[in-house]
């Protein structure tokens, strides 16, 4: 086992994990009804993270979203409870809103990831390891600290390196263009990396029954939602096991999430986004409150994500922002040798898989 080779360094991080486990109180396990007895993680670990979150590496700015955990000090007991509370709130206001094509908000155009918004970011760089570990129940914490050390020692593989899809909610964090196609009955959200499309049904249907939900999960799960005026609420379940991001904790296929999407007014916000060099419209920002529920978490993990609309005013903008299909295999020269060495093909080493002459060969045999 590789784990044995790294026993010393892993042992050191496990000491930290053990220290956390002595004081951890499991709010999600106890449920919201026990919130009087729960001790929020922010109170348990006042020295970790920031005022917004114990796992945040920095303070983040938001126009509309809140970094406060929804549902009280220790949150809702489940995504279902969270969703139903928001649905009741919408009903109390006369909703959910039944939009027409004419009344739906305008989220059109190409959008880019803002990496300065919340903790779930590319390569997990917005979160501290200690803070993330403190969010996890003891068994998951031990796994994460071991995984993390293997990341740091270059003994781990990011699953997307195999050209697998980013799982959900990692979908939020990947780079590339994004588009939102809204209709009254469903919304389709596109992320350019490996051409991922999320379908969010807003026609009032429930999630699929157990008979029709893949027991192994789907890459982007199954999403339903409703509109409350110009806020779209989404409940997603039935996801695959995965990692939140590189060097971030694993998630189970029992993870469920609640999202609230809204186009915000940036006037006077003073927010400087980080969109990795993109030309963006500083007045067009989608903010998403994301709350993750997983059996491995001590309490729900809540953060805010944002995207910016790309500027497409000039002919040059329109040329450069052209969205094309994302084939992962063709441009991936990454491979693992039989000895376990992770390397790259040098010129001439990779089979010419896109050359039609390579597809037809009398020496090939299908057996």
């Amino acid at each position: 086992m590789n784990y044995l080779k790294h026993g010393a360094s892993i042992g050191a991080v496990l000491v930290f994990a053990a220290l956390i486990s002595v004081t951890a109180t499991t709010a999600q396990e106890a449920g919201a009804d026990a919130s009087e007895a729960c001790v929020p993680l922010k109170e348990q670990h006042p020295d970790l993270g920031t005022s917004q979150s114990i796992s945040a590496k920095m303070e983040f700015k938001t126009v509309w979203g809140s970094f406060e955990l929804p549902g009280g000090p220790c949150g809702y007991a489940s995504a279902e409870e969270h969703y139903n509370a928001l649905l009741e709130q919408a009903r109390a206001n006369g909703g959910p809103t039944e939009h027409t094509l004419e009344t739906l908000p305008d989220w059109s155009g190409s959008w880019g990831t803002d990496n300065s918004t919340g903790e779930i970011a590319i390569v997990g760089r917005n979160s501290t390891r200690e803070g993330m570990a403190a969010r996890l129940k003891p068994e998951a914490r031990e796994v994460f600290m071991r995984d993390s050390q293997l990341w740091l020692d270059d003994h781990a593989i990011d699953p997307i390196s195999f050209c697998l899809q980013p799982n959900f909610p990692r979908w939020f964090t990947e780079y590339g263009y994004r588009e939102q196609f809204l209709t009254p009955e469903r919304s389709v959200f596109y992320s350019q990396m490996v051409n991922q499309l999320r379908h969010i049904y807003t026609d009032g249907r429930p999630h699929p029954s157990e008979e029709w939900m893949n027991p192994d999960g789907e890459w982007l799960g199954y999403s339903i939602g409703f509109w409350d005026e110009d806020v779209l609420t989404i409940w997603t379940k039935g996801v695959k096991e995965g990692i939140l991001q590189r060097n971030m904790p694993r998630q189970s296929n029992q993870m469920e999430t609640i999202e609230r999407w809204k186009l915000v007014d940036m006037e006077g916000s003073g927010i400087e986004p980080n969109t990795l060099g993109a030309d963006y419209d500083p007045n067009a920002r989608l903010e998403i409150e994301l709350t993750m529920y997983d059996p491995s978490f001590i309490e729900p993990w809540h953060t805010v994500v944002a995207y910016y609309k790309e500027v497409e005013e000039t002919p040059e903008d329109k040329e450069q922002n052209w969205i094309t299909s994302w084939d992962c295999v063709e441009g991936s020269n990454w491979y693992i040798t039989e000895a376990g060495v992770i390397s790259q093909y040098a010129p001439g080493e990779k089979p010419p898989i896109t050359d039609p002459d390579y597809w037809f060969n009398e020496n090939y045999t299908h057996q």
């Binding site: 880019g112 590319i122 390569v123 760089r125 270059d154 781990a156 593989i157 990011d158 997307i160 390196s161 050209c163 990947e174 780079y175 590339g176 263009y177 350019q192 990396m193 590189r246 990795l276 060099g277 993109a278 030309d279 040329e319 450069q320 922002n321 052209w322 094309t324 994302w326 084939d327 992962c328 063709e330 441009g331 991936s332 020269n333 990454w334 060495v341 992770i342 390397s343 790259q344 093909y345 040098a346 010129p347 001439g348 080493e349």
Partner: protein
Amino acid sequence: MKTFTKLIAIGAIALTTSVAGPVLAHHSAAMFDDEQEVILTGTVTRFDYLNPHSWLYIEAVNEDGTTTAWGFETAAPTRLQRIGVGPRFWEPGDVVTVKTHPLRDGRPAGDLVGAIHADGTEYGEVEGLTAPSEDDVADAGSTTEEAAPDGAGEEAELAN
């Protein structure tokens, strides 16, 4: 003619990515030796503008006059297009000087740290690079023999 109007932006991105690594967000960069910088001058043979990574291929001239085919990994089009680098930014026949962190095992490939065209157009982090000279451009078309890939890393000009 190359159009490249966002050199400041790309420099900033190169700085950011050298810390956080999102240019190589599809996979770890551990196979590249970031302690070593190799500077090469050669002729572009192909530029693959592909996801998840684009690749620049050149034929570099070795000291003994032979040439070696090198490949350099860089960012996906979705990132390159945002900083003004299109699919014809490098074209076959262009003479370029590039800086790379090579593969640890010596095969002629690496990640693309920076590059300069003969006309001075820059890409990425170009500290220590100078544009190919007229002699480089003239020499680039005069050698055709290819060296064995195994020795390529040793024959390349090393910096630092």
